[in-house]
């Protein structure tokens, strides 16, 4: 890395990052915080590019900024929609606040409260400085596992080192991580229901038209991202995120044919990727260890796993965006009334 030539750029990125983070955490306006959060994600993606991590940059742009932002926005929308008083969204803190206010009415209480805050800040600052000095003083940084990855690259069946680590050397981590995504969907479905068949009918025709053009393109991009993961930056997560973004766009635009009712096909799709990954891993037990792809088939198997997982991840993320088990009024109205 030609380290000194771009220092100004780095400084701008860093200062923007810290400033955005400070602003988004400090502002009392939730919507503003939301917008700042999305831009924070985008600047973060810039930092990843600068730090030679294109895979992470893609994932951050697609997942961190592209999907988390809408997640927050729809949550904010739901939070505001439920109650009239936007100001009273402090769920559990009202009581707590009251206590603090009661304490701070007296001068002695105010001083103690201030002292506590100073103590807390001082503690954190000391910790920060301590950790930073460790980072500064210990000059020697281990080269890490890069050497080993480079040595074994040939045997992994893929060209991109990050994909080799993700799906071959440390494929077990990735398997569990996909399970985390799956559990998140199960958890979200167990928590809330969303009425899907309600349509506002107020979507602008221009939006629908644009989405009709963009969605197929995005799906194309997603597939190519998954495919190019074997030799360039990209892979199942990035591709899946783009796929999910296409799904989110279509849902927001209320395209008529799109329904995400948790019937068997949808559940099958959700389970498909994890099950293929797990199944291939187990089938490797036939003549080897768990997840030990036979040499000549490794590349093909990894591509297969990436495709299957990419599809499932896309659907999973879209389901997370929906934010609950979609319920069709016509199909299980009875269940909804009985449930919460």
């Amino acid at each position: 890395m030609n380290s000194l030539s771009l220092t100004l750029f780095d400084c701008v990125v860093l200062v923007t990052l810290l400033g955005l983070a400070w602003q988004l955490l400090a502002t009392p306006d939730l919507f503003k915080a939301m917008v700042l959060f999305m831009s924070f994600g985008l600047v973060m993606a810039l930092a990843w590019v600068r730090l030679a991590a294109p895979d992470v940059a893609l994932a951050e742009a697609a997942l961190g900024a592209g999907l988390t932002g809408p997640l927050f926005l729809s949550a904010l929308h739901r939070l505001r929609g439920t109650r009239k008083g936007e100001r009273r969204q402090q769920l559990d803190s009202i009581e707590h606040r009251g206590k603090i206010e009661k304490v701070t009415q007296r001068t002695s209480g105010r001083i103690i409260y201030l002292l506590l805050r100073i103590l807390f800040a001082g503690l954190l600052l000391t910790l920060l400085v301590h950790l930073a000095t460790i980072l500064l003083h210990v000059e020697y940084e281990n080269p890490g596992l890069g050497v080993f990855v480079a040595e074994q690259q040939e045997e992994s069946g893929v060209i991109s080192p990050v994909t080799a680590v993700l799906l071959n050397f440390r494929g077990y981590d990735t398997l569990l991580e996909i399970m985390v995504l799956f559990v998140a969907v199960v958890a979200v479905w167990s928590l809330a229901t969303v009425r899907f068949s309600e349509k506002s009918g107020q979507v602008s025709p221009i939006q629908q038209g644009v989405v009709r053009i963009l969605a197929p393109l995005m799906i194309l991009v997603a597939v190519s991202l998954i495919w190019q993961g074997t030799h360039l930056a990209g892979g199942a997560f990035q591709g899946g995120a783009v796929l999910a973004a296409a799904g989110v766009l279509m849902m927001v635009s209320e395209l008529p044919w799109l329904r995400l009712i948790p019937s068997l096909p949808v559940r099958l799709m959700l389970v498909f990727g994890p099950l293929v990954f797990l199944g291939l891993g187990v089938s490797c037990l036939a003549d080897g260890r768990f997840l030990e792809y036979p040499g000549e088939l490794a590349g093909f198997l990894i591509l297969l796993i990436e495709l299957a997982c990419g599809l499932s991840i896309g659907l999973t993320l879209a389901c997370l965006f929906v934010g609950g088990r979609p319920v069709d009024d016509l199909v299980d109205r009875g269940q909804l009334e009985e449930g919460s």
């Binding site: 602008s204 221009i206 939006q207 644009v210 053009i213 963009l214 393109l217």
Partner: protein
């Protein structure tokens, strides 16, 4: 030949930058949402167009140039659509356009 291309590229990019600058300034300084949208879309359309043209001059292959053009096209579609949506929802919320008073 190479130098001419490089020079053209740089000139185009430098020409594109003021559009972004004025767009950002407009976003910060203009009085209401509609005028701000106007400022932003100018930056996106013309500024990005010039920069993409400048980059195309330095592109290694035709494929790469096409991809850059594609980026511009997509941003055009997305920005005009989102501009429309923002203006629409502003109108729905009965936000009155700013008048010189």
């Amino acid at each position: 030949m190479r130098e001419v291309l490089d020079l053209t590229g740089i000139v185009l990019i430098v020409c594109g930058l003021p559009f972004f600058l004025s767009g950002s300034l407009g976003l910060l300084r203009f009085p209401d949402i509609f005028t701000r949208l106007h400022a932003l879309t100018k930056a996106d359309n013309v500024g990005l167009g010039l920069i993409v043209l400048g980059l195309i001059c330095q592109a290694g292959s035709l494929f790469e140039a096409l991809r850059l053009l594609m980026v511009w096209l997509l941003v055009l579609i997305a920005s005009s659509a989102s501009c429309h949506l923002i203006a629409r929802s502003a109108l729905e919320k009965n936000i009155k356009p700013w008048m010189r008073s």
